[in-house]
Symmetry: C2
Subunit: 226 residues, 2 copies
């Protein structure tokens, strides 16, 4: 047993669990900010980190923190009907709810009130997620060129995304493109197949509603959150 300290938190537009990509790197254009907790806000602790263009984040599945672990899980990525051992998956329902993600390090910036922060892209962490550790990616040790995973051999098939005329997201074109990328990953649990079902997710201050059928995500409404 060991007490883990929260060293930092990540901030981004993934404001609901629903919609967060299921692995890092799937939405490269999504930018996040990593802000250190006051106790760990030591400028010199980051000296040299810019010599790496990727970093590992070891973080807390905070949304699943108080749920029981499960020896077997049914990963949504595999359609939700295949039962696997939790250690064969990246499921959050683990004995220790720890996540692991390699993200692109895009910058180191001085903030007015929160010390030196890191900017990263391609994260799969929800807004506010606590971080336990940050490590440089070391290509010669971390890249295993002969690695094979027969269960998770490629990202899920991308869906088409339709935002009908008349629905004008009150966001920049770039943000709208990122939103499309996120939706193309089909955030719904795979075992639900109801073309009339309306899903909702929160993204950067917006409520997005959409339907899914024929491998197409159709946005039905975008409103600003109150």
């Amino acid at each position: 047993m060991n007490e883990m300290k929260i060293i930092a938190r990540i901030y981004n537009d993934y404001t609901s669990k629903f919609g967060v990509p299921r692995q890092s790197g799937l939405v490269e254009s999504e930018n996040s900010l990593i802000v250190f907790e006051p106790e760990f806000r030591a400028e010199e602790a980051l000296r040299g980190i810019e010599e790496s263009n990727y970093i590992w984040l070891i973080w807390e599945f905070s949304e699943f923190k108080d749920t029981k672990w499960s020896p077997t899980v049914r990963p949504p990525r595999l359609g939700g009907n295949k039962r696997l051992g939790v250690f064969a998956t990246r499921s959050p329902h683990r004995p220790n709810p720890i996540g692991l993600s390699a993200v692109k390090l895009t910058g180191k910036i001085k903030t007015p009130g929160s010390g030196t922060a890191l900017t990263v892209s391609g994260a799969d962490l929800m807004n506010g997620t606590p971080i336990y550790d940050i490590k440089p990616y070391i290509p010669y040790a971390d890249i295993k060129p002969d690695a094979v995973n027969h269960l998770f051999d490629k990202p899920g098939e991308k869906f088409k995304v339709m935002i009908p005329d008349g629905i004008n997201p009150p966001i920049t074109k770039e943000k709208a493109e990122t939103l499309k990328e996120i939706l193309s990953l089909n955030p719904a649990p795979r075992y639900i197949d109801d073309p009339e079902r309306i899903y909702g997710m929160s993204y950067g201050g917006l409520n997005i509603k959409f339907k899914i059928s024929d491998k197409t995500v159709t946005v039905t409404e975008i409103t600003e959150e109150q």
Copy 2:
């Protein structure tokens, strides 16, 4: 804050901290056994893990658990004279003493008294190290082909290893070859440069004594541990 549970422990021939390779994969021929703690010894929790040939271990730097973290460190791999932020390194002197290693999964075996265990190779964990989590390596997410790390761009230069005639390690030829590989990584702290200094390490029931000079490790004595 979150309490981490020890889910398993690793067992191998790295019986002293001194001598453990500084990254995973550097000594591929070293085999380790991962034994689950009784509470997490659920056969089904491993279902499908054999579909991956590499797994991530998230583990405790148990030897450093009670030491204070340091915002800056001087990695031995860089000669011990370069001061870097701890988050730019894989140093154990971190706020949370967590290690991260990708190891080759070589088997899943039923043990007589400890349930189903995993065999792995290429680990950089000392014998007895507690493990917090085991995850499959997912090539499409974990391999970052464009990753660059200017500080740690390759493993350290390999040293020559001399085991003079007359010193016959009481181990198999294969084990002796593995020992040579370990010594070739130059386990000494880099900032000591004393050709007469005798180093000692423990490896699989043996006490190994050696000197280092001119990029050559010369074994001076191998004895069985009492």
